[in-house]
């Protein structure tokens, strides 16, 4: 479903963030990206979601080449992706319900259906009691759950999650991790970037380890 071929990215400042990355994901898989801060995890996710351009290589999603796709095709493509970014990008002037509804509004979902879907989603992420609050009135973990709810509301084909458990206390982090594992159990395809080495091991997954923009094949070579 998702294929990355010798992808490289050099930022305008000259930082080589990604160096010939190869990656393949099948439908229903969960894949973990780990690595030190600055190893290029976010950059890889941003290129897949079209937020950044790449310098070299290709990304195929459902057989379509994302790296050469015309700009006007991106909106449609993004509707198939659930993006959970490090910067939450929540609308601070709108309440939780409204924030979660945005992806549905964009595709002109009828009000009645929208209400039901948002109610369901609020239940799933355990935010039912906070629907009318503004993001500024929530804790970091609750806000993270709003971002997850917004990413999932449209039943995306793939979820791109950047540090969904970062900056959270262990309990909240564990809650979010469970939420994402549940999504995987229900059949979602998920690519997660995380600092947490234990998380993939806990559920028997071998993470992809990024170091200075390269994938380290042998976990023994892990530095630090």
């Amino acid at each position: 479903m998702l294929e990355v071929f010798s992808l490289s990215k050099t930022y305008a400042g000259g930082t080589k963030a990604l160096d010939t990355i190869n990656l393949e994901m099948r439908k229903g898989e969960i894949t973990f990206l780990t690595g030190h801060s600055g190893s290029g995890k976010s950059t890889l996710l941003k290129i897949i979601s079209g937020e950044e351009s790449c310098s070299d290589g290709r990304v195929l999603f459902q057989g379509q080449c994302l790296t050469t796709m015309a700009a006007r095709q991106w909106p449609k493509m993004r509707r198939k992706m659930g993006i959970i970014s490090q910067d939450f990008k929540l609308l601070m002037h709108q309440n939780i319900r409204e924030n979660i509804s945005i992806p549905l509004e964009v595709v002109n979902t009828p009000r009645r259906i929208m209400r039901r879907r948002v109610d369901d989603m609020l239940e799933q992420v355990n935010l039912g009691a906070h629907a009318k609050k503004l993001p500024s009135q929530l804790s970091a973990g609750q806000r993270q759950r709003v971002v997850i709810a917004r990413a999932l509301i449209n039943n995306p084909l793939i979820v791109l999650a950047d540090e969904p458990t970062g900056h959270l206390d262990p309990k909240e982090g564990a809650d979010i991790a469970r939420l994402i594992e549940d999504m995987h159990q229900k059949g979602a395809t998920i690519l997660v970037a995380t600092h947490d080495h234990q998380w993939p091991e806990r559920i028997g997954q071998r993470p992809i380890y990024l170091h200075e923009g390269r994938i380290l094949d042998n976990p023994v070579m892990r530095v630090g």
Binding site: E51, K76, R78, L90, V106
Partner: protein
């Protein structure tokens, strides 16, 4: 459509300050421009007012017999442009001058009516441009019974050049002023919309098309423009109500019956249209600038 309008109103409700700022900037720009164009309009109307006349006064030489005077008046009467030719004897002119007030009467103290010339006053059947009247007057002056012809050419001549300069510079000034107004409005709207970049980015992230993102901003810009136009119209109406009577009173001896022009229905429509256009184009420009960057 309704959805976008709803969104625009919701956003205005969320940030009334931004709306007020954008609207009043548009309002100020419109008011400035409107005041400028009103002055230009009035100057132009004034020029037109002065450059047209319906009245010629023909001053005859002394010592013409009654018959000769009547003969001449008769001649004038037959001209197609002239509705009426009235003979004003020195005595009539004397009486008229005295009737103007005690000051005028005092001026005539110790003088005789016969120092005044006989004139024939010609009332034209309609207003004619100055050139036409000048031509008529020249023909009349050619007669050796006529000493001078007066149709206000002296007053007009003095003002003519001044008005001409004003009219020509007004075009340049008008363009400069409009550019300045557009620049300020674009900047204010730019800042207002820039502060909502996050909103645009979120919309892009969840797969909204550029058109979908732009629409509510356009509506909002239009609404700002409408508010701005309403402010301008109210300001001008207030100014008209409180100031025009005073201005007219001050200027009336100079203007002799000329009425100051103010905004009318078409002016209001123009202001409304320009306001909405300013708001629309300002927000279109700003949103497109943000959308143009790859996110």
């Amino acid at each position: 459509m309704l959805y976008f309008l709803n969104k625009a109103f919701a956003s205005i409700r969320q940030r009334p300050g931004a709306c007020l700022l954008a609207s009043s900037t548009i309002g100020a720009a419109l008011t400035l421009s409107a005041l400028f164009f009103l002055s230009v309009n009035n100057v132009q109307a004034l020029t037109a007012f002065w450059s047209k006349s319906t009245f010629i006064s023909v001053e005859l030489i002394d010592n013409l017999s009654q018959k000769e005077i009547e003969f001449l008046a008769n001649d004038y009467q037959k001209m197609p442009e002239i509705k009426e030719a009235a003979i004003v004897t020195p005595e009539m002119a004397w009486a008229r001058f005295k009737a103007k007030g005690p000051k005028s009467a005092a001026l005539l103290e110790g003088l005789e009516p016969s120092i005044l010339p006989t004139t024939i006053e010609l009332f034209l059947d309609q207003t004619y441009p100055l050139e036409k009247i000048a031509e008529l007057s020249q023909n009349m002056e050619a007669s050796n019974h006529v000493r001078a012809v007066d149709y206000g050419q002296d007053e007009y001549g003095q003002l003519h050049e001044l008005l001409d300069v004003l009219r020509r510079t007004s075009h340049v000034l008008g363009v400069l002023l409009s550019l300045m107004a557009a620049f300020i409005v674009a900047n204010t709207i730019g800042v207002t919309i820039y502060s909502r970049q996050d909103e645009i980015e979120v919309m892009q992230r969840v797969g909204a098309t550029p058109g979908f993102i732009r629409a509510p901003f356009l509506f909002e810009g239009g609404i700002w423009g409408l508010f701005g136009a309403l402010m301008t119209i109210s300001l001008l109406a207030l100014a008209d109500y409180f100031m025009t009577p005073h201005l007219s009173k001050i200027l009336s001896p100079l203007l002799q019956g000329f009425r100051l022009e103010f905004i009318d229905v078409s002016g209001i429509l123009w202001i409304g249209t320009f306001g909405i256009l300013l708001g629309l184009s300002g927000s279109l420009f700003s949103v497109s600038k943000i959308l143009g960057r790859k996110v």
